[in-house]
Structures are given as C-alpha cells and as structure tokens.
Amino acid sequence: MATEAELSKTAELPVLASGSLALEIGAIAMRDPQAAAHAADGAARASGRPAVVTARGIADVLRVASGLVTASGDRKPVIAVLQLSDTEREVALPAIETASRSTLIVEPGESAERLAERCNESLQLSAPVSLVLNRDSDLAAVVKAVAANCAIRESVDSQAEVGGSVDLKPAFEELREAKKPVILLGSGALSTTALESIAALARLWQAPVCLTFSATSMAADTLDRCLALFGADIPLLPAGTVPWTNALTRADHLLALGSGLSEADWFGLSDAKLVRAPVTRVALNPGTDGIADRTVDIDAGVFAKAFAAEIVRGGALTRDNWVERFSEARSKWSGLVDEEAHRAGDSDRLSAPLAAREIVSAAPANAILVGEGGAAGMWLASYAWLRPLIVPSQHASIGASIPMAAGAALAEPDRPIWAVVGDGAFFYCARELAGLAERGVPIAVFVFDDRSWNAIRLVQTLFFRHRTIGTDLPEVDYRSHAELHGCETIRVRTPSDLAQALSLAQEPRNKPLVVDIRVEKGSIPFVGANLILAELDGALGPLAGSAALGGLLAAAKDRPALAATLRVTAGALRK
C-alpha cells in the first residue's frame, strides 16, 4: 500500500495498522493500535475522504475501539477492518459496535469485493464503519478491496429538484418572518453544492452564519471553498467565540443546516437554555433531537436553494444592520483576543495565549493545525480563526493530536502539519514520533509544558476553591524524550526563543520537529470557560452556590475577551 508521497497520486485510501500486521499487509505502521485509529481519523478529518485502520486479536482490536470512539463522536469516515475469533468476539464485539456507527459482520464465503460494497453503502449513511472478519477470512484482501473501492459520494439529493414529498411552505413562512435570522451551519451541509446554495441564501437573507463546533474544524479544502464562497460580506463565525455566542443567543430564528444539534455542536448553549429562538432544523435523516421546533428531512443545500428562491419571490423581513453588526463584532473580537495574548506575556515570560497566537501566525497559510481537548488545544482553537484546524469536538479527547497529525500528513502531503499537545497528554502517543522520524515526515509538534493538567486544574480553581489536588505534573524534559524518538528538537523559554523555534519550524526538514515550550501555569482559555457548561451540565446548580460566580469574574479581571465569554457562563450558572 502507498506511502505519503504516493498516496497523493492515487485514489487509494490510506491504510494504517500497528506492529507486525502493518508489515504483513503493507500498511503504514503505527506503534500502537489506538494511535493507528487516531491516524486514520486524522487523515479523514484533514481530507474529508475515508481512511482505513486494521487490527487483529483482542488486545489490538480493543485498542482500535478506544480510538474509534473519538472518530465516532464526530462521525468521521474511518473504516476499521478487524479480525477476531468467535471467542474473542464475545469480549470485544460490544466495544466495536458501540464505538462505530455501523458494524458489518462478514458472512461465511462473502467475497472481499462484496464486503467492500456493503461497507461503502454504510459509509454514506453513518460512519465510522467497522467490518468484523473471522480468523479464516483473508484480511489483506478485504483491506485491499476496501481501500480501492470505498469513497464518500457527494450528496446525490442536492442535484435533485425539490419533489412533492416534503412540504416546505410552512417552514418558509415562519423563516421569512425572522427579523434576526441566524444560520447554524453543521458538518452535514459542507458539500460543494450545498455550500454554494447556503452562501447565496445567507447573502439574500442577510443572515450571519455560525459554524457548529464540528464544522469549525472542517476539512482543509472545504474550508478554502467556504471562505471563497462566503467572502467578506457574510460573517462566518467559528464556534465558541463571543460573536458566535451573541448571534445564537440574540437570534429570533435559527436555521440549523446539516447539524445534529448535539451538545458539542453548540457547546451546551441549548442545554443551558440560553438559546431562546425557535429552531428549524434541516438535515437528511435527521433523527430526533428534542431541541428543534421544526425538523425538515431534506438535503440542506436543496432547502437553502428553494428558500432563497422564495425570498427572491416574496422578500424577507430581516432588520437593517443585523448582519453588519456581526461583521463588526467579528473584527472587534479578533482585536480583543490579540490584545489578550500580548497582555498575558512580556519579554521574558511566555504565556499559553501568546504562544498559541504566535504559532498560528507563523504557520504557513495552507498549514493544517491540529489540537486536542486540553487548554493548549483550546488556545490553539481561539487563535486558529478560520484556519484549517483538526480538533476532536464531541469527545474533546486528549492525547490524539500526534497520531492525528500523522494521519493528516498522510492524507494531505502537500500541506504543512503543525500540532499542539499538552504536557499531560504528551505521553498518550509520543512513541508515534519514532515512526514519523523513520518515514521522514516533517510535522511540527508544540508541547505546551505548563507542568499541569491545566484544563482540569482550571475547574478546580474555579469550582473547588483553588484546591488543585492531583493536577500538578512533575518536571519532565520533553525535549530529550523527543530526541529518543529520533526527532529534531528545540527548547523554548522566552518569546525570543519562540521566534527562533518558529522560523525553524518553517524550514524544510526530513523528520518531525518537537518544540518544548515552557509556558506559565494556570491560563484560562476563552473556549474552556464555556466548555465547562456542557461538561458539568447537570451539576451546575450546586456549583452556582459555591464561590464559582465570584471566582469566574475575578479570573476575568483585565481580560475583556475572557470576561465577555464568562458572562455567558455566569448567566447560565445564575439560571
């Protein structure tokens, strides 16, 4: 099977495996099976195309299942081809079935081609897909057939005319009445044709467009297309930012296109009852969500096109200046966020926001940035404003950014890949750096060395009266660890060290670069503050009674961007 360089030239899907199995079937070799699953996930996220992971036996298959959970949360098109005996299935199959959105059990005598066909059908409906083979099956043949034959189809429906099957009139009538409409754009509406129709609708309807959390980290090529289509006049607002929150909470009607309306899609805003506007949800096979006031089962692009035609015919009631307000808010917000980065550090102290900001601005424009669920990842997301970004949203998992970056490099070999990892999370997959070094893959990895599990310490600071038990980490020399794995390394202690490291990162090389960045302990990222809402939803009552509210606001002293974010959190706590 193909390497990074070869893959770009073929239509074949990347295949990842670990240990001797990788050798046996000619897959890209990862050290750990879970990392192989994360790498397939990263490849799928970076490119929007499927990727394959394969494993055999309980110990490996269950580690793949662990990795699949993250892919499954964000419905990424990972295909897992897994081989288990009957007795092994008793232990491992439930984990596979729960971690995948479709599971196909191989039937005796079924040909590899037929199985690939079935896999492809499932892939269109609900990914990730697992194929479970017995020990007699020819694993290599199935992997080969899947890698050669599976692909995501552009939604067929979006070409179709609106048929008589769905009556769109009632939805149109309500939506046309909106004076403050907002479009919530989810990852189910990112096909080329859908995006064209949605951009045209946003322009006609004068509606700002909020990206769901998962759409915020859309595939790199899709983002390029999106930015070209929406242009400067329609504000595209990334999840978790204050203008995004304001748009969602101040709208008088939300049109959710291709979103599952899961908590992670909008950061628990729904659960905190902060969104009061009626919600019309449009998606193919939408299922139930308990949130939408009206659900329309049709392709989001088709709906957008038809609704735009309706507006051309009959007009809409959108207020003057409604959409412009968000263009202004957007530029004001990036100003605030920038200012905080600079305020947080000085010439010899390096803060996490400053480091994240400098990394994002030094990354080449076409680079894919890779983050994770910890504070370092949240800082990256705060500054990677409409840049190609990979971050697990539904599960906010930590520890996957190195293998996800490996997968991204495989799927998008022409784009530089820059990843951020927390010091706590570093060891989840650090050994994968060795494989990248052996294969000469030049990703850059920035370790945010703050000597703590900061995102958790933050919750202790805010809600447990600063009793930061168990969340401090011992001093570790991450640089010498990266050297053990064959990487180029550099240590950063000051802003000027960072500038030097960043110019090194921009240079060509034939191995990974690992930058050990010592940042100050205890940073509070904007995004994190709101994430707590989703995370502790259900226990916010008892917490509101604690010192939390005062603590929140004290934390935001002199930090306008954080204060603006925390006002939302505090508002939710008061309810």
């Binding site: 232990v91 199959l93 439930p94 599960h395 010498s480 502790l536």
Partner: protein, 342 residues
C-alpha cells in the same frame, strides 16, 4: 468510627460518601486520570484522608496498574477514570483484567439518566455499559445517593467472588455534587481479600510484557529462566502494556522484588510509567546486557526518565545477576531483553 464528614450539620456530598466508603473498605490506592466529573471525588479523597491518588499519564495505564495491583495483592484495586473518552481508553485493560481474573473495581462517573437516553448527542457521551459489556465481569449503575454505599460494597464483593474480575460501577455524576445524609445504621464495610494470584509465594515476581518473550535469551543470561514458569503478564496479551501492569504488581506486593522483561521498542513506548513510578516514590532501574543493541536504546531512556541504569556485565554469572535482582526489593526493575525471532 468517627464520622468526619458530618462537620456541623452539613450533610456529605455524594463524592464525600464515595471517598469515605473507599476508606472504610481499606482501599490503599485509587488509579485515576481526571476529568471535570471525577474532581469532586478527588477533592473528597483529600478531605477524608482516604486512599492515595495515583495519577498516571493515560487511562489505559491507570487500568493496567490496577490489574497488576489486584493480582499481586488479592484485593480489589480501584480505577477512577473520567467518563466518555476516559472510559473509551480503558477498553483493553478491562478485557485484560477479565482474562487474567484480576479483582478490579472501575468506579466511573457517568451521564445522568436524562442524558443517557440520547447519549450520542451528549458532550463526551458514550454508552459505557454497552461499550464494555463484553469486557467487564459485571456492571452496576447508581442513580441515587442512597444506593452509593450498597453498590460500592456489591462491586467490591463481586470483583473478588468466584472467578475474580473487573466490575464496573457507573455513578451518575450530578449526585456526586449533591449533599445528602447517609441514612440508617451504616453497616460496617467488610474487607475482603483472596489469595494473591500473581506468583504466590515466589521470592521474585517476573512480569512479561507479552508472551513472545518467553523465548528471550536475555532471560537465561540474567538468571531468570527458572522464574518463567511463575511469570505473570496482563491478561490481554500484546506488547506495550507491561510497564503499568508491573508498577501495579510492585504496589500490590511490597517487599518482593518485581522484574519486568520487555523489548527496547516496548520500553520506549512506556516511559511515562517510569516517570510516574519515580514521582510516586518507586525507584526504577533499567537493566540490559552491557554493549548489547538493547543497551544502546535503554541507556538514553534511563537518562531521559531519571531511572538508574544498570549495564549487566557479560562476565557475571546468571546466578550473580539474579542475586542482584533479588536484592532490589523496593523499586521496580526493568530488564530490556532481545525479541526472540518468529
């Protein structure tokens, strides 16, 4: 017994009741990677001076330490990882404890009932029960504070009963934050143990990273050939999981030397456990035959982690080497061995 939780008239939180019960059950260690939802228990463990918190670097390692601890001590080990992605990462270790019949209690926060009905749409939502139904021996679910103590007791009893194994107890996390008085006469918790499974009676515990290492030549030159018969390893056989397992053995069997055999490649993937062991006061020695290819990789690994480095002299007799292992009763010794062909 004193009831330190009822300070004044404030009823204990669910988390404080969990911490108290673990203390009453005589639990020594809680192996845990945090998430917001486990924090109330962490806080309570500190308040009640309960079991010592061991915080490794991955959920998998936490769970494998517990497997080793359970096998070595014959007492249920406690794992407390966070919900969703935390539980996701436990999968192989839960199965491993089932396959090795290790008594382990997984005490995990989970989403409240209203969220469990639409778990796929919930932030960090994972159906723990379905995910681990094949791997766990038994699974319990606690949605009310009244049930906390009885269910913890049941989990402990079940983990150790008959063929021991991993028992999971999911606790709806909002009840950890809520205050509620313990009702009625509390029954004394019973400390239950079973005979240790890992090399009972042995004067040295040899742990293998995976079963392929039985043919390693280094084991013979290090005088450990005779220990192979009683060697132990994680129930889920596959390289890369031996180090946390061996640290668990170490904690569960004080005073007996514990030696872990693994390949250099596997060691390099498990250096986090060396760091965690050292931070927890368990000194680690990394050994390899001097001038061997293994030594070339093992020595810098020892340096990077602050472990002691022991190059085994080729002139030493196997008996002499074993005697040296044997003296190391406090720490953990890691012997880097050759990977047998085939």
């Amino acid at each position: 017994m004193r009831r330190p939780l009822l300070i004044g008239s404030v009823a204990p939180s669910g988390a404080e009741r969990v911490a108290m019960r673990l203390k009453e059950l005589g639990v020594d260690f809680v192996f845990s990677i945090p998430g917001s939802q486990v924090l109330p228990i962490w806080d309570a463990l500190d308040r009640v001076h309960g079991p010592r918190l061991i915080v490794p670097r991955t959920e998998r390692a936490a769970a494998l330490m517990a497997e080793g601890y359970g096998l070595a001590s014959g007492r249920p080990a406690v794992v407390m990882n966070t919900l969703g992605p935390g539980v996701a990462n436990e999968a192989v270790a839960v199965a491993s404890a089932k396959l090795s019949s290790a008594p382990v209690v997984y005490l995990t926060p989970c989403q409240p009932p209203a969220k469990r009905t639409r778990i796929d749409e919930v932030f960090q939502g994972l159906d723990h029960g379905a995910f681990l139904s094949g791997a766990a021996k038994q699974q319990l679910l606690c949605d009310s504070t009244d049930q906390l103590e009885p269910m913890i007791d049941e989990a402990f009893a079940s983990a150790i009963a008959d063929s021991a194994g991993p028992v999971r107890l999911d606790v709806s996390f909002p009840i950890l934050f809520r205050r509620a008085r313990r009702r009625g006469g509390r029954q004394a918790a019973s400390h239950q143990t079973r005979p240790p499974k890992a090399a009972p009676g042995a004067d040295l515990v040899l742990a293998l990273d995976d079963s392929s290492l039985t043919g390693s030549a280094t084991l013979a030159t290090a005088g450990l050939f005779g220990d192979l018969e009683r060697s132990v390893m994680p129930g889920a056989d596959g390289p890369g999981m031996g180090a946390p397992f061996a640290l668990g053995l170490r904690l569960g069997r004080p005073r007996t030397p514990v030696v872990l055999a693994l390949t250099a490649e596997s060691l390099l993937g498990q250096l986090d456990t060396v760091i965690v062991a050292t931070a927890e006061g368990v000194p680690v020695t990394i050994a390899a035959a001097a001038d061997s290819p293994e030594a070339a990789l093992a020595k810098p690994a020892a340096l990077a982690t602050g472990a002691a480095w022991w190059p085994i002299d080729s002139g030493d007799s196997p008996e002499a080497v074993r005697a040296n292992f044997h003296q190391r009763t406090r720490g953990l010794t890691i012997l880097v061995v050759d990977q047998p062909a085939g």
